[in-house]
Symmetry: C2
Subunit: 164 residues, 2 copies
């Protein structure tokens, strides 16, 4: 039941970031302080879809992690000795290497060019989708983080004595 089109994706644009190699990419988009400004360049045929985007402070970007190695179902993360299941991580080597970032949206640099912060992907990454971030359905500030809790990137403004 895959409809008429099959499970094939089409690029809608390109992400420009400061990182030219996977080893240069930060662990996540909140790690660099300050978070560098990145841009999302939407192809002309999709730019009409950007109307009414102003007023959303945050967006969800989906993109294609084309440099990821083949999926590995279980592996020991660099910062943890215990092997973990892939779906309990945000590692890029997934059966479907679709990356997801919640980004701050700082408006348009030019028509079709979005200014965003909190990306962590390679320069030139293929953009697949832009969704408005809705705190009413997407925000769960009290969510628990399982094994990742001690390794989490905490907000930079946390007082050191309170940070774990």
């Amino acid at each position: 039941m895959t409809g008429q089109r099959g499970l094939t994706l089409t690029p809608i644009g390109t992400l420009r970031t400061p990182w030219q190699t996977t080893s240069a990419c930060p662990r996540n988009g909140r790690q660099p302080n300050p978070a560098p400004r990145c841009t999302a360049h939407v192809l002309p045929e999709y730019q009409d879809g950007l109307q009414s985007l102003e007023g959303f402070s945050h967006l969800i970007l989906l993109y294609w992690l084309d440099q990821a190695k083949p999926a590995e179902m279980c592996f020991a993360p660099p910062f943890d000795p215990t092997p973990r299941g892939l779906f309990a991580t945000r590692a890029p080597w997934r059966p479907n290497p679709v990356g997801l970032s919640v980004v701050a949206f700082d408006g348009f640099q030019a028509p079709g060019v979005l200014l965003v912060r909190y990306l962590d992907c390679l320069d030139g990454t293929i953009l697949l989708d832009i969704k408005p971030y809705l705190p009413t359905t997407d925000s769960e500030p009290a969510a628990t983080m399982g094994w990742l809790d001690p390794h989490a990137t905490r907000p930079h403004c946390s007082a050191p004595e309170k940070a774990r």
Copy 2:
């Protein structure tokens, strides 16, 4: 630069929900009260990737909206007279019809079968990815919602006099 594999997705499982037709699906997963329990059935070859998922209270599920009509860059939503850009909506008819839900994770019903709440998609929807929800990077409770603000699904526990 699409690597060796092209932009092709592969199903990792199936979502079971109470909704058999698109018209029966709720507007979003927080609208039904109470939110019905749904299940995500992961194919055997991917079940090793579910290790260490316990302890995460919420997950991000990506799935394939195979019943969506062709993408339309600008349209008037049913609840708003003004035409809006597609990327300022969560409509399913997108250039890449990948749906995203932040769901509550209630544990395993059986090996490879996850109990979740807050889905809004059709029964039988193809599952593409499971990511752990990380409040440190995914939660923006103060995000603004632009044109969607007056139409938002507010939490059921809001006092009516405070809800807008």
